[in-house]
Symmetry: C2
Subunit: 308 residues, 2 copies
């Protein structure tokens, strides 16, 4: 099953304690597609300017990403420059130039309108709604957002929630959206507004899925070296939806496994700059990491304990 992703197609300049990368592939649509395409076919919608190195996206096309929804506009591509602190606990944005992304109006190609799985990357909720209006009958809509929209476009966002199946945000975003510091209550608040499922990403602390009647927890994969955290969240989303797309009609059980694929892809993303880690990532490496997640979380429960 193909996944439709609408998000940014950007160039990033990143400084980490380990080095710098200049004008490399970035943006939510790119990270998502790089991760998801290892598991399922992907259809991308986005916009680039005259300066985008389109050839660098060839590795995506070669593994089944349909790039025909990427619009070419006159002007500069979305550019972001950032610097991470030595312990990766903070990130300074050095520069953001929206370029052609400022006027981005997603147009879904006719051939993409039958998409059953839709990922709405972090853009204006009005545009996210517009995307849904163009897709005929989406079955699973997963939506990302950020504090900027929660504060500035609250009404549009809450109205959008009524058409979203899975809201996927980080913990501070969930708390701010629901205006509740307690994550469980915040998730329940969001669920009452539409999404059956709320996925809360917590970076190195893992992620939690709040479902209609169950909660599932996946840890962050412990790494000795975090090289560049950029794009981890979108790669998580890519792994999550890539797994969902690889099964016919996702069950609650599949959503749990999807969380583990999400965390796995997020952990691969941070091992190299940009989407570099996904370029030669082997099936066996993914499966091995999934096995490690299983090993990290499995325990025997002895109901027959002597005192308990």
């Amino acid at each position: 099953m193909s996944i439709l992703v609408v998000g940014s197609v950007a160039l990033d300049s990143v400084e980490t304690p380990f080095g710098t990368a200049e004008r490399v592939l970035g943006g939510s649509g790119v990270f998502f597609s790089a991760a998801a395409s290892l598991l399922a076919p992907v259809r991308m919608v986005g916009v680039v300017g005259d300066d985008y190195p389109l050839g660098d996206l060839n590795f995506l096309a070669e593994r089944g990403v349909d790039l025909s929804g990427i619009e070419h506009a006159d002007g500069e591509s979305f550019f972001w420059a950032g610097r991470y602190s030595y312990d990766f606990n903070s990130r300074d944005t050095l520069e953001t130039r929206l370029g052609v992304f400022a006027d981005f109006k997603p147009r879904i190609p006719e051939a993409f309108k039958d998409s059953r799985l839709v990922f709405l990357g972090n853009i204006d909720p009005v545009l996210q709604m517009d995307v849904l209006d163009q897709v005929r009958s989406p079955e699973v809509v997963v939506c990302d957002t950020m504090n900027y929209w929660i504060e500035g476009s609250r009404e549009a966002l809450i109205s959008l929630l009524g058409r979203v199946d899975v809201l996927m945000v980080n913990d501070s975003e969930a708390r701010e959206l629901a205006d509740d510091h307690n994550l469980l209550r915040a998730a329940r608040w969001i669920q009452e507004r539409g999404p059956k499922i709320v996925v809360v990403k917590k970076g190195e602390h893992g992620a939690i899925l709040f479902g209609p009647d169950s909660i599932f927890f996946v840890p962050g994969f412990p790494l000795e070296v975090v090289f560049d955290p950029t794009g981890a969240g979108d790669s998580f989303a890519g792994g999550f939806m890539g797994y969902l797309a690889s099964v016919e009609s996702p069950t609650g059980e599949d959503y749990r496994t999807a969380m583990v694929y999400g965390s796995a892809m997020g952990s691969f993303a941070v091992e190299k700059f940009s989407v570099d880690r996904f370029k030669n990532l082997e099936r066996e490496e993914i499966l091995e990491r999934i096995r490690q997640f299983k090993e990290m979380t499995t325990f025997e429960h002895q109901l027959q304990g002597s005192n308990v």
Copy 2:
């Protein structure tokens, strides 16, 4: 199997957004014993002053806690007063009076010297070492510490590590001890100095066990209401060791289950003031929470996925 615990026996005055509690039972030894004694027999060593309401410890004696190692000294008991912020993200210490605890020199009663499981609560590492010198042949020594000792008694602490099986600290303590912001590397650094196992507690984000050749992760239990976080870490330790004491010779598998009992007991601790939640906690409630942890972390891994 009995557990020997050496730690503080204190009185706490606590302010939370939900109310206040004045001069209630507190201290690492008390929280530890309240949790552990639900699973195994406990032997307490500590000191109290003239003002301690010893009758309030009766509920511990009634369920198999041997209080004969609690010394009575002239003066005031250890007193701590603190206030939590509305979102529990920060805690202000309003007052600390060490009282008789300032001159505490743990004396292990003859009848306790055959203890095979020892929990060294957060006290001066010189005293923790002194405790180990008095116990004949401990099999599992679990040790807590804090930034105060890491900074001020570094040499004594590192020397102690050589005789510790499990170091149990929170994430900031692990990072500071190893002087490494990366938790995995910090754990490896600590393991090289003695402890085969490092347990890192991360509050609401759960806890990680770094073993000789495996890692295990347990989430924090999601609660709609956190009433009073005081003592959650020591209650975690109590659940962890209580479970270990309930099996004959703990295996790697038992350590994993112990982590889940730790997280469960930590989650019960915060539901009421002081040790109140442990007073009437039923066996069936504990088992139900363990089942919920299982439910929150179990996933099926389909190796035969269509694309993977």
